[in-house]
Symmetry: C2
Amino acid sequence: MITALSRETEFGLHLHLPDRARPARALSKTMPSQGAHIYFGGLTDIDGILVGHWTDSERPTGCTVVLIPGGAVAGVDVRGSAPGTRETDLLSPTCTVEAIQGIVFSGGSAFGLDAAGGVMRYLEERSCGHPTRSGVVPIVPAAVIYDLDIGEGKRRPDAEAGYQACLAARSSPVEEGSVGAGAGATIGKLLGRQRAMKGGVGSFGIQVGAFRIAALVVVNALGDVVDPDTGILLAGARGPDGRSLADSMKTLRDPDASWSIRPLENTTIAVVATNAVFGKAAMTKIAQMSHDGLARAIRPVHLPFDGDTIFAVSTGQVPGVDLGQAGALAAEAVAHAVVRAVLTAKGLPGYPARQDLL
Amino acid sequence: MITALSRETEFGLHLHLPDRARPARALSKTMPSQGAHIYFGGLTDIDGILVGHWTDSERPTGCTVVLIPGGAVAGVDVRGSAPGTRETDLLSPTCTVEAIQGIVFSGGSAFGLDAAGGVMRYLEERSCGHPTRSGVVPIVPAAVIYDLDIGEGKRRPDAEAGYQACLAARSSPVEEGSVGAGAGATIGKLLGRQRAMKGGVGSFGIQVGAFRIAALVVVNALGDVVDPDTGILLAGARGPDGRSLADSMKTLRDPDASWSIRPLENTTIAVVATNAVFGKAAMTKIAQMSHDGLARAIRPVHLPFDGDTIFAVSTGQVPGVDLGQAGALAAEAVAHAVVRAVLTAKGLPGYPARQDLL
């Protein structure tokens, strides 16, 4: 039995959970400001940020690009111990490059890092990048998830996939669920793939006055997803009946249970974007604090075989925002984006989505 | 109004909350194994580990020592941005020293780091330390909390305080609450000290088969403490009536609220200990994953002015434990140790403890 999900509600995060899976703009419309904070749709509500998906039509995989043609100050924090990344070292506060023009998330494990090449080509064609004497060099950090065992065949997102995602990039609300880099994402893998569920892409944002902060997350975790407000288990490893949730933390406490944490198959990757003015070290701190959102929504997380990585980007439009506040709300946005990812995911053969179990 | 705390219970973590504040040994006795996992008292249930407090009788401050006379493999992860630490660099997996003999937590902000000198003296007198041609050098990492504004006077724990804590060290259940390094600990400081509450020391452990992992935490957070299982707010910044809880995350989302995150005044420090056999890099990973327990029990946490630091030590008695399982259960032990710290804390003038509000 999946635990019942509706609960006492107040204006704010404490919506009936099914509301959280509504399309982003509809969610936004149901929550006018009333002079207080606003929960809004997602990453593309940060001015200057576009999101595009490319989803493979032959195998459940794909890539998702975040374009910031005007450039953004960025930081990163890698907390999983099996990451697959590109162009993360230059984000260190001690490194020189100040602005990035895009981020790409991809399926295909480390092979999918090639998608960044296509994003670079798209940006170079439009003269977006780090200026050099021989033209621009677009700075496009990337991170990948493992989905090589999902569906048939060996197709993996490549440079052309990255380019196609750029062509699809829009400032309209982020398409969520089983699309782009989340097409082949799965969760709840502690009891093996036959007990797993479908993951996906989720996005969620918070506004306080003029300050906005939003997250886009690709959830391919080993762990289960819980409601960060109530601890209620939402999705994850299923029990023997295929419909109940086994509770991975309970399994790990049971000396008689058998389970396995397998190499390379798990990763949650995210980008947090804000319109607040922050430098590179501050964005690194926001990326760091954002991982608390994963901790609150995914149990367990940050495992030796997860590659959990969060980027944080600032478009630098709103000065005077407190760094601690930004980091705390970044974590909240990440946690709720994780929830949206599993509530909007669509099932695949052998990998039911949460909505298939209700 | 403090939210009611009792809830549906099953054997395991989901006890009625007041039970969680019982003395450790009593808690242990109420939860026999029944062939499954056991929740046990705390850090001293790991064989080879002693804990001692020194509590100042003149000002609410003190220090807490964890002695491992036989030595332990150790790692550390600093996630707050305003740490006060000593002997953490040598815990890097690339550094040479393989074993530490003690850890000390202290009040007194960076001044309190002197307590480690007394712990070193105690250990040197007993020939416990890293062997050199001129005798042993005890390796005693340390971390501190800020409590300089609590009570009257300028007393801070010094080397003699560290030595006295060693003399008090026992393998009996850890004394929790407003003792040792937690004597002057406070929480819920977003709305200023006049709205804060008392923090303290908590300890909690989990056993799965022969494998044990336990945490000792000194909770001096800026944030609120929530039940990691249910999200229920347990303690933290108080409302204008002095008895309700304001909810710091809600405050941070309110554009009309005034609040401040102040430098150096917040820090949660912890040590996780296990009897499992792991090397230095693995213990660093466990320290890293343990921070997820802080994320789940404290909101917000890991702030720019927190010094949140977790050490992880292994006494190396039980081989074959999965690193991911150990890290996941370490996080759980840390989260529940945080809860115990606020449930066992005793109030000070101006700083009520949770039990004072019930």
